[in-house]
């Protein structure tokens, strides 16, 4: 029997409110399946399971707030169909190795746990093996679930066309239209814990960012370095790449910046990792946090795992999916766990340069300002070229300005050879 616990979804999280279960006892789950939605101070987060098996028992009801580390469900290893059918009653509550709920980790000392599931490729890339049909539970995007509830659509009767046959909003709306003149709604809306109003969420997000950034400024001796990078080669390469492709296959310049930032950590590994309890722990991969600003205020920095190994198209896809989840206000647990360095790109409408504040317990924050035409002197001549100001805020307990400069120089080198990215 495996215990499923309220995960720590960031250094600043001490408790979460269970909003909704997407599974019920008896459901078979695979590693990486979304089993529940949890409300943290920052966002609604879909919790993915680390363990495959069969949901044995659900221990926390929707609407309940529990500390990080609390056991919220039990998963038993998958058994043979026969054994499962024979099992008439659930096991006694206090199972052999089912540990009691742990005391919560405090936010200050809890390093974000990197779950085993994170070693897998991005959710979209993970091929879903066909589950046994009678226990297969449909995957429904939270938005689709909400719309289905509003419009009285039974999701069990809807065919999913999203990634991994996930039922999407479009699928639900199609089904609702199809059923418009026909039978009335068969299924009652699923019981949902109340979603918090936007103003409430905004206030708690603001408080969470404030607490985390105050900790950063209090504890981390920042140093800052910056470098102007010529973006002509990257821009020319990208324009040629995009010209022949339909919108879905196009890349953003931001993706080239992200890839260069990820690759450059190979040259200066001491800016990629976490600093906890006086010790720097280098990361086991480049888990690139991407700061995404929210309309109406606030910023969330979900991570793209092993970003250095992703092709530009895979990185683009990961960024597209991540942005979509941020926009809908529902992240996955793998998005918010285990970031090892963060990039903030204040975009094409934004400012010239960023002077970053590090996300604890990380030790580096890379900033990219606006890519714009600026004067550029070369060979005794001044011309106009697209340039970007790349900056690094890093932790002096782990590295120094010289190494930080080498990191930015490495980003620059990578961006001069966009075809190699």
């Amino acid at each position: 029997m495996k215990a499923m616990r309220m995960p720590s979804l960031g250094a600043d999280m001490t408790a979460g409110t269970l909003l909704e279960w997407h599974v019920e006892p008896g459901d078979r789950v695979r590693r990486g399946d979304i089993v529940a939605t949890v409300d943290t101070s920052k966002a609604e987060i879909e919790i993915e399971t680390f363990d495959g098996g069969v949901i044995d028992e659900i221990l926390v009801e929707p609407g309940t707030k529990v500390p990080v580390g609390t056991e919220i469900a039990r998963i038993r290893e998958a058994e043979s169909e026969a054994a499962e059918a024979a099992r008439a009653t659930p096991p006694p509550p206090a199972g052999e190795n089912a540990a009691p709920a742990q005391p919560p980790l405090t936010g200050e000392s809890a390093a974000p746990t990197r779950s085993p599931s994170l070693a897998e490729p991005s959710p979209s890339a993970a091929a879903a093996p066909a589950p046994s049909p009678h226990v297969h539970r449909v995957r429904v995007s939270p938005l689709a679930r909400r719309i289905a509830a509003e419009r009285g659509v039974d999701v069990a009767a809807v065919t999913g066309t999203g990634p991994g046959d996930t039922i999407t909003r479009a699928d639900v709306e199609r089904a609702a239209q199809a059923a418009f003149a026909a039978a009335p709604a068969q299924a009652p809306p699923p019981a949902l814990a109340e979603h918090r109003p936007a103003a409430d969420r905004h206030a708690s997000l603001r408080a969470a960012i404030g607490a985390l950034m105050a900790r950063s400024k209090r504890e981390i001796p920042h140093y800052h370095v910056a470098q102007v990078v010529d973006m002509s080669a990257a821009r020319t390469w990208l324009d040629a790449y995009n010209a022949a492709r339909p919108p879905r296959e196009r890349l953003l310049l931001a993706v080239l910046l992200l890839k260069a930032a990820a690759l450059a950590t190979h040259d200066v590994p001491e800016i990629n990792g976490t600093f906890d309890n006086g010790v720097f722990a280098p990361a086991d991969g480049v888990h690139l946090g991407v700061a995404v600003s929210l309309r109406g205020g606030g910023v969330i920095a979900p991570a793209i795992h092993d970003a250095d190994g992703l092709s530009l198209t895979d990185l683009m896809q990961a960024l597209r999916e991540l942005t979509g989840r941020v926009r809908r206000g529902v992240l996955r647990s793998s998005d918010v766990e285990g970031g090892s360095i963060t990039v903030t790109s204040l975009g094409d409408q934004g400012v010239d340069a960023v002077y970053g504040v590090i996300f604890p317990p990380q030790v580096g924050l890379v900033g990219f300002g606006r890519v714009a035409e600026r004067p550029w002197a070369a060979g005794g001549m001044v011309g106009a070229r697209p340039t970007v100001i790349a900056s690094l805020a890093a932790d002096h307990r782990v590295s120094d300005g010289h190494r930080g400069g080498l990191y930015l120089a490495s980003i620059d080198r990578h961006l001069q050879e966009p075809e190699q990215l």
């Binding site: 239209q177 879905r248 409408q349």
Partner: protein
């Protein structure tokens, strides 16, 4: 495609790629990126949704023309192939699954308009 069709398609796509943005009161000449705080990913997702929802090819070089609601409507109305949506002249078979599969392949955009 009529201007009304184009307008509802753009607004439908906008609601899908930026569900947290409030497009009521959006003026035709306003730059949507500024008015609605769309970043480059939002803008690309919007163009993808519009292109696939209308089966009108939108080259990268033309994207700048779609940054206002008015500009986008004009572009779609004037586009060759507009009006024979989804069949003749469609540049490529649209694939389901756009941005988590929410905007489909032009068929539901069509049904949206016929309501």
């Amino acid at each position: 495609m009529t201007p009304d069709d184009a307008r509802s398609l753009v607004l439908l796509c906008l609601a899908d790629v930026a569900p947290d943005a409030d497009a009521t009161g959006l003026q035709p000449a306003q730059d949507m990126r500024r008015a609605l705080d769309l970043d480059s990913m939002d803008m690309l997702s919007l163009v993808t949704a519009i292109s696939e929802g209308s089966a009108i090819e939108i080259p990268d070089a033309d994207v700048e023309q779609l940054t206002t609601l008015g500009g986008a409507i004009e572009y779609l109305v004037a586009a060759p192939g507009s009006g024979q949506r989804g069949d003749g002249g469609g540049p490529r078979p649209a694939r389901p699954g756009f941005v988590n599969g929410r905007i489909g392949d032009g068929h539901e955009a069509g049904s949206e308009h016929r309501r």
